[in-house]
């Protein structure tokens, strides 16, 4: 009997498969309509149904276009884009991490959006978010911009530190109760945080005017040594820090076991899931004494690809999408404050977290926009880890990193 069931199921499945196998091959479906392809990154909180609505509404307004809106998982986006570009078939446009822009420009893979997107859309974008300007031309349309800030567990600590040194004192104080003073992810992940927070707080620059890596400057050494002190001497950070990236360490804060964490726009969403019995407060990442505050700002952009086949259509789509009724809910879902001036005024964006981000925006610094940044960041993370593992001193590690980065970027 079992065998019969299995065989029947098999035949049914085979019939279904044979039919679907040959459906939807390739990109050219209809002739009357032209297809517009856009890859949207899968930000945590966006509503996939809503995204479908945007596509449908666009098609309703512009019946000559068929909208292919693909939602791509963030972790896979870079690989998928690389593959698509390498084979000459990228989408018309996609969301990218702004720092990818230089690589793409190096390969003549992108076109200036100004030729396809209307000026009114640009005018509605906050000037401070226009990070993706290369040699004066805007090459990427700001899509999301979020500065980093600090969150505090009010039942474990009560003061907002004005300097890094003060943060250290407060973290030590908070850790006396058995909880952790500060969260510090030590494992390798896609970003150079948390090192960059301390580095910028010390007034550090990654590269000098000639493009030479100066992460081993006194500022860099100061930042790294501070981290070593917090982690290895004061022991105020979480026990498993070497094995944890931010996806694994921030939940420790959200679970109520740490006093401070340097975090970003996802804080509210994560906190909301926890039904916590403690209150959260948002504040700025402090600078070292004697420096100006310089939190990190990370922007994502939309890039238009020269090999895309419907740039006109994608321009229209972007104009369409950036209207408040579509972009604002997207921004809210994504957890980022809006890049558009009109949307930023909406009531749903006037929360404490957004206020903290707005304040951070005033002084924030972005990632260096240089070629070879991905390798450079990877090397610097390795250097941090070598120091944290005790294999090298902070100065040795950063000297090694600077040399390696220069070598790698020269190739």
């Amino acid at each position: 009997m079992k065998k019969v069931v299995l065989i029947v199921a098999l035949i049914a499945l085979m019939s279904v498969s044979t039919v679907s196998l040959f459906a939807n091959g390739g990109k050219d479906t209809g002739d009357a309509k032209s297809t517009v392809t856009f890859w949207l990154a899968d930000y945590e909180g966006i509503d996939h149904d809503f995204v479908g609505e945007i596509a449908a509404a666009f098609e309703a307004k512009y019946p000559e276009y068929e909208m292919d809106l693909v939602i791509v998982d963030w972790n896979a986006l870079h690989d998928k884009l690389t593959t698509a570009l390498a084979s000459g078939t990228p989408p018309d446009a996609s969301v990218i991490g702004t720092r990818w822009l230089l690589e793409l420009m190096d390969l003549d893979a992108v076109v200036a959006p100004g030729d396809y997107v209307s000026q009114s859309t640009f005018d509605n974008i906050a000037p401070g978010a226009m990070e993706a300007k290369i040699d004066g031309t805007l090459m990427g349309i700001p899509f999301a911009a979020g500065s980093r800030f600090m969150a505090m567990n009010k039942s474990l600590a009560s003061e907002a530190p004005a300097t890094m040194e003060e943060l250290r004192e407060l973290a030590i104080e908070a850790s006396k109760g058995g909880d952790y003073g500060l969260i510090m992810p030590g494992a390798k992940h896609s970003e150079l945080s948390d090192f960059v927070y301390y580095f910028y707080a010390a007034g550090g620059e990654f590269f000098d005017a000639n493009g030479k890596c100066i992460v081993n400057s006194p500022e860099g050494v100061k930042a790294l040594e501070f981290m070593l002190q917090l982690a290895l001497e004061d022991k105020v950070v979480q026990d498993g820090f070497m094995a944890q990236d931010r996806k694994e360490s921030h939940p420790i804060f959200m679970g109520g076991k740490a006093a401070y964490v340097m975090i970003g726009a996802w804080a509210d969403t994560e906190y909301g899931k926890m039904n916590a019995d403690w209150d959260i407060e948002y504040m700025q990442i402090p600078p070292f004494a004697g420096n100006d505050p310089a939190p990190l700002i990370v922007t994502d952009s939309i890039a238009l690809y020269s090999d895309g086949d419907n740039l006109e259509g994608i321009g229209k789509f972007i104009d369409f999408m950036y209207q408040d009724e579509w972009k604002a809910p997207l921004d809210k879902g994504m957890g980022f404050p809006p890049v558009t001036i009109s949307a930023a005024k909406r009531p749903e964006f006037q929360t404490p977290m957004y206020a903290a981000m707005a304040e951070a925006n005033l002084n924030a610094k972005g990632w260096p926009l240089v070629t070879g940044w991905v390798e450079s960041a990877s090397i610097i993370i390795d250097a941090n880890q070598k120091a944290l593992l005790g294999q090298m001193s902070a100065k040795e590690a950063l000297d090694w990193a600077a040399a390696e980065v220069d070598k790698v970027r020269a190739e």
């Binding site: 690589e103 390969l107 026990d239 498993g240 094995a243 420790i252 294999q391």
Partner: protein
């Protein structure tokens, strides 16, 4: 020359080859179409300087191979990969045989046991590995919690945080993923040994261990060799485990050749170097296969 039942061997030879080629044609065609070009392409790319879009630029010859041979970091990665594969395959095979033997024994609940042992294999590898990363977690992971509760260790290590424990932890997960497969392969092999041979051995008065040595083991040797060879190739190229658990960290101390290749291609866009490293992999694995095949084909001739 005749075979055992008197059918003249010579007469069959010509027709045999034609039949063989016909039977092999679909498989060979498929592989040629989909693997030949990519493999050749990888080799070719390694001979050219490439841009970040993997387009070849100027001819570079074998220069990159010279650079890699001289690179100390490269040799560390290779050495680690060899350690990885030797330990991994040996452990998987051992566990596999033990479990196969256990599953071959008739007892109540045997069918359920077989089902349960398959679970690690049935689950999608990226997700299983992520699950292990969660299990290894110092604060949230139930591994350390269990070790502490059972009193086995008051202060368990931060598994993925230190070079040696991280490498061992990665190895364990890779082994863990591979064990059910090995167990199943050996179980099937043991089942395929004809019962008549055991009966004949019984008639001859063989003991249990003699039966194992002279009936079971020879019967499964072919499978044993093939399974361990293929396992060696796959284990060497196991990308998911190390990458998801540690991304090659901390400080590159768990990088094996395949993760190093990935890093150079998809992260750093150094396609020439990545291709050359892939060819390194090919050479190493060819040597491994060569050693195996000598043993395997020698057996066949016997």
């Amino acid at each position: 020359m005749e075979n055992a039942i008197g059918i003249p061997k010579k007469r069959r030879l010509g027709g045999e080859a034609t039949l063989a080629y016909a039977l092999l044609a679909p498989a060979v065609l498929l592989m040629l179409l989909f693997m030949a070009y990519p493999i050749i392409y990888v080799f070719v790319v390694s001979l050219f300087k490439t841009n970040k879009l993997a387009r070849i630029q100027e001819f570079d010859g074998f220069r990159i191979y010279g650079k890699l041979l001289a690179d100390k970091e490269n040799w560390k990665v290779i050495g680690r990969s060899l350690l990885w594969v030797i330990t991994g395959v040996t452990t998987k095979t051992l566990f596999g045989i033990i479990i196969a033997v256990v599953l071959n024994t008739k007892y109540r609940g045997q069918k359920i046991a077989r089902l349960l042992f398959v679970i690690p294999w049935a689950s999608s590898i990226p997700i299983s590995v992520m699950l292990w990363r969660w299990v290894y977690h110092t604060e949230f992971g139930l591994l350390n919690h269990t070790l502490k509760s059972l009193g086995i260790s008051a202060n368990p290590p931060v598994w993925l945080g230190q070079p040696i424990s991280a490498f061992l932890s990665c190895m364990w997960v890779d082994i863990w993923i591979g064990i059910p497969f090995m167990a199943l392969v050996f179980l099937a092999a043991m089942q395929s040994v004809p019962r008549t041979l055991y009966e004949a051995a019984d008639i001859d008065g063989a003991t249990r261990s003699q039966k194992f040595r002279y009936v079971t083991l020879p019967g499964i040797t072919a499978i044993l060799l093939i399974a361990t060879l293929l396992s060696s190739l796959w284990t060497f190229n196991d990308f998911n485990t190390v990458y998801i658990l540690t991304k090659g960290g901390p400080a590159g101390t768990t990088n094996i050749l395949i993760t190093y290749v990935y890093q150079n291609s998809f992260e750093w866009l150094k396609w020439q170097k990545a291709s050359a490293l892939s060819m390194f992999t090919f050479v190493i694995l060819s040597i491994v296969s060569f050693l195996y095949s000598r043993v395997y084909f020698k057996r066949e001739a016997m």
